[in-house]
Symmetry: C2
Subunit: 153 residues, 2 copies
DNA sequence: ACGGGGTGCGTGATACGTCAACATCCCCGT
DNA sequence: ACGGGGATGTTGACGTATCACGCACCCCGT
């Protein structure tokens, strides 16, 4: 047996559990809103957002996986489903014949452009509006710090 | 067409996207640690933690769903899997014959007691250690505020 | 040129989450 | 007492996430 660990203080526990619960709540709210209003899941939205942000509305699958920080196979499965719904298409890559591009279809672009204003609204309604500018800045810094310290390895 | 929405500022976007990414990273790290070290998923851990905190190591299914804020059917499915692995058992409820208790088995109790110190360690290593006490307090307050404002409806 | 190791991506099995539908049972008004 | 509405919990179908694996292909040393 090792020595007793230093258990979490009440505040530490509030921060940890609160983070988890806040996230779940927000994802649930925002996700339902997107789904019901536009037939897009949160994942769909993120994928389309990254793609439309890229030049030519296209990205290599692996690059997309990188910016999303998704496992390649998760992305692959998801793209298959999105392609089935006509939101994106795969294209062969001339440079590297193993590779593949994902391209937003007109329908995909239309979908995210329709959904974007509502998404921003949701983020404000469910999240930002309840916080002071100072809290928002703090949270951004907290997130950046934690991410930076966990990204690698 | 409605007027353009007020798009997110850079900081607001950092806070929102950062929150999502920070959460995913932490859940991934902590989840793997639990899974690899003790064969428990994060969900298993939470369920066992709530149950062992309750008197008699047992709770009504619905009460458990309440404290976890899980859908009843999610919980039901999860309990079925946990029962299959011998971590919990269901028991009939004498008072209300519709109802059911979930009870931690000795194996379940052993599992979470073995895992708990490591869990605390993980929360510190991946999360708390990178933040100042002030940031931790701030985050706890932020989470509480957001949760409180979204809990209902 | 060729052969082996690494890379880019897809697939199938399995675990998990959500929804809708259902069976059972409690409670309360009449 | 009985009958309907609400509550408790389970189930099946389906979408999604992860893992292990496989295939095609590139690159580089020989």
């Amino acid at each position: 047996m090792s020595a007793d660990p230093r258990w979490l203080t009440a505040t530490e526990e509030r921060a940890w559990r609160g983070l988890l619960r806040m996230h779940d709540l927000l994802v649930d709210r925002a996700g339902r809103s997107m789904q019901e209003g536009f037939g897009l899941s949160a994942a769909d939205y993120t994928v389309l957002a990254e793609l439309t942000r890229a030049p030519g509305d296209r990205l290599r699958v692996q690059e997309l996986a990188g910016v999303l920080d998704w496992e390649k196979s998760r992305l692959s499965h998801h793209l298959t489903r999105m392609a089935k719904r006509g939101l994106v298409v795969r294209e062969e890559c001339a440079d590297d014949r193993r590779g593949a591009f994902v391209v937003v279809t007109p329908a995909g672009r239309e979908a995210i452009e329709a959904a974007a204003p509502r998404h921003v609204e949701d983020v404000r309604r469910y999240f930002l509006n309840h916080l002071t500018p100072g809290q928002i800045t703090l949270l951004a810094e907290i997130a950046d710090t934690v991410i930076e310290n966990n990204k690698h390895r």
